[in-house]
């Protein structure tokens, strides 16, 4: 088992004729071919105005609706440039995509506020934006992460950051552990899926036996996650919070990674998580080991 992505996931890419869109569509297709030979997992893409053409074997459609109707896709991976990305997300939702993964970085935050508003009550689930995507190792990769570092296993991984997710997956691999599903939720202030949504899913997923959540400074999502863990999560949870040394008021790369007015510090988040029994790694080199400690604590 896994969450969000399984053997029924059929993927298209919005923005497939762009450089990044094509490259990563090829990578995701190759991953699927390697792990599930003979199955059609990555089925095409769309770019307005290029419908009816083909690019490296991928059929291209003008609209998501057409792509969905012709290919049976139920998941869209978005590489559309920031000024048009919000529109692309809503197009995917309107076409009934069950899962929408938006990689695009740099979307205006009020565009995301409009997306958030428009998707109230929608059946689609949005991951991101500004995220590495989602992978169920051995089943499907929908994003820009290097597939081979994510080994199949029993840990649910949730992270705001890209390379830090890879680091964590790598550390888990080195101690013989892997993931059921790894989800990059993105480093922007307004995102489609937050920790709590995924904690709920991992808690319900029988194959997931522990959860590793990687957070960072800014906002209070990790604090809310801690409250949720206290009330609803019985599985062992480990965590790491990046940015203990970040100065207040400065944006650390991610639009959301900013300590404002003394709130959103790593210290505060760490404490909130430790208070509810989460094993928090002090060093980023210790993320994998922290999961192991979280397991051991339950024995």
């Amino acid at each position: 088992m896994s969450i969000l992505v399984d053997h029924h996931t059929k993927i298209i890419c919005q923005g497939i004729t762009g450089k990044a869109g094509l490259f990563h569509s090829q990578q995701c297709r190759a991953y699927a071919k390697e792990h599930r030979p003979g199955e059609d997992v990555f089925v095409g893409g769309c770019t307005p105005g290029k419908g009816g053409t083909e690019i490296d074997g991928f059929p291209v459609f003008n609209t998501v609706e057409q792509a969905a109707r012709k290919t049976g896709a139920n998941c869209s991976l978005i590489f559309v440039p920031p000024p048009f990305a919000a529109d692309a997300i809503l197009e995917a939702a309107d076409a009934g995509m069950e899962l929408i993964v938006c990689i695009t970085e740099g979307i205006p935050v009020l565009d995301m506020a409009r997306v958030h508003r428009a998707m109230q009550g929608s059946k689609s689930r949005l991951i991101g934006p500004n995220c590495p995507g989602i992978i169920t190792p051995g089943v499907a990769k929908i994003g820009i992460m290097p597939g081979y570092i994510h080994k199949p296993g029993n840990v649910g991984l949730i992270s705001k950051s890209g390379t830090l997710t890879y680091e964590a997956a790598w550390q888990l691999g080195n101690i013989g552990m892997g993931q059921t599903t790894a989800v990059g939720i993105g480093g922007d202030p307004i995102i489609g899926t937050m920790y709590i949504d995924l904690l709920r899913m991992f808690q319900a997923d029988p194959k997931t036996e522990a959860i590793l959540m990687i957070g960072e400074i800014g906002g209070n999502a990790e604090i809310l996650a801690a409250q949720f863990i206290k009330e609803h999560v019985t599985k062992p949870v480990a965590a790491f919070i990046a940015g203990a040394t970040a100065p207040p008021g400065k944006r650390m790369g991610h639009a959301g990674a900013i300590i404002s007015g003394g709130a959103g510090t790593a210290e505060e988040k760490k404490k909130a998580l430790e208070d509810v029994g989460v094993v928090v790694a002090d060093s980023p080199a210790d993320m994998g080991a922290a999961v192991k400690r979280a397991f051991d604590r339950r024995k």
Binding site: G162, W170, N220, A246, M252
Partner: protein
């Protein structure tokens, strides 16, 4: 992107929001003329820098001179202005270095009955804009939120519909306003919220919001920050950027597609990815060192970007060593090493350089480093690299 108070007030005035009459001055004579133009009997001279705490701040060159002062004559205005302009103002928010003052705002005095707080930001939890108000004006809102959370009013509003009239009135009544102030507040709150949405702001803060003796509401001070990601559709606002207020190296880095923040330590770092870059700073500190910067070279680091990154790190005279931490995913480790070695030759790095690589083609990349004959210290893992980097500073 931040702008100055005088710019924020000009924009708010254009949106119909009531601001005090004011004159912008860049010389002591302009300041004196400004006082005369406003007609007295009282005016306020305000230093224009992108940091708060100006009233309590003092100038490096004139330790008795506050950053904001009340004046009663053109002569006094000129006198103060001559000490303020061209001098460096140090406040609790500027850090010890302070900020140079090049522009003053001369404003009419207001008959203040009450001071309140008004702010608009993006609320991550509700996923949209939110109006924040408090009766405790003139104080740092974070302090109020900490000591008296019950005095903070929050009203999320719809990004499309804006703040609705009844929402504005609810906030106004809860603030204890009455009489003509209710109408004034309804109008001003809605205008400020619309201003926030129309200009893609990430923050608007009016502190204090002044309730005058005759019940009107006027902007006392205004801080406005725009969403950098939305500036592409606000070219008129881009022109308001004041590069004097920004760290020159951060500006240069931005132009090269790098994300750089200068810090106070002496160990430079070069990392791919924001989260890993932050974590690298953390692990340096964890092992007893002090990071000199945050630097994210992004996912597609090439020779030019890595070279520029080294140049920026080394431009900081405090830097006594560099730690490179790369997790090669889609971007392969050997590609990174090629860029690294080319940059090394171009720049001529003289401080100790510790490199930690992990990920795709890492063995090939490590061999390339070893065969290069350069004085590069290889870290086997994150901990080892951080320890070696910190130790290299003492060598």
């Amino acid at each position: 992107m931040k702008i100055h108070e005088y710019q924020a007030k000009q924009l708010l005035a254009k949106a119909g929001v009531k601001v005090p009459r004011g004159v912008v001055a860049k010389t002591p004579d302009e300041a004196a003329a400004g006082f005369t133009e406003l007609g007295g009997p009282l005016a306020v001279v305000k230093s224009q820098i992108h940091a708060g705490g100006r009233g309590k701040g003092r100038f490096k060159q004139h330790p008795e001179q506050p950053g904001v002062v009340l004046v009663k004559s053109a002569e006094a205005t000129k006198d103060h202005a001559s000490r303020m302009l061209g001098s460096t103002l140090v406040t609790i928010q500027t850090g010890g270095e302070g900020k140079p003052v090049n522009v003053l705002l001369i404003e009419e005095g207001l008959k203040i009955a009450k001071e309140m707080y008004l702010g608009v930001v993006v609320d991550r939890e509700s996923g949209g804009p939110i109006l924040i108000a408090s009766t405790e004006g003139g104080m740092e809102i974070e302090v109020v939120a900490h000591d008296h959370p019950e005095k903070i009013l929050q009203e999320p509003f719809d990004v499309e519909a804006g703040l609705l009239p009844y929402q504005a009135r609810n906030v106004a009544y809860r603030l204890g306003l009455d009489g003509t102030s209710i109408r004034a507040a309804e109008k001003l709150f809605r205008q400020v919220c619309q201003f926030f949405v129309d200009n893609d702001c990430s923050m608007v803060e009016i502190n204090p919001l002044v309730v005058t003796a005759d019940g009107d509401l006027v902007v006392g001070d205004a801080k406005v920050t725009f969403d950098d990601n939305a500036l592409f559709r606000h070219q008129d606002l881009v022109a308001l950027r004041d590069l004097n207020e920004e760290e020159p190296m951060e500006v240069q880095a931005q132009a090269s597609g790098l994300s750089y923040v200068k810090l106070d330590g002496n160990l430079g770092c070069l990392v791919n990815g924001a989260g890993l870059a932050m974590s690298t700073m953390d692990i340096i500190k964890y092992h007893g060192g002090a990071p000199a910067n945050f630097l994210d070279v992004g996912g597609g680091a090439n020779v030019d970007q890595v070279t520029e990154a080294f140049r920026i790190i080394l431009a900081d005279p405090n830097v006594k060593g560099i730690l490179v931490n790369i997790f090669g995913g889609i971007m392969k480790c050997d590609t990174i090493v090629t860029a690294l070695l080319a940059a090394y030759d171009k720049i001529g790095i003289s401080v100790p350089l510790v490199v930690r690589l992990e990920g795709t083609n890492v063995d090939l990349a490590r061999k390339m480093l070893a065969d290069s004959g350069k004085k590069i210290i290889v870290g086997t893992d994150l901990t080892d690299a951080a320890k070696k980097a910190v130790a290299s500073l003492g060598a």
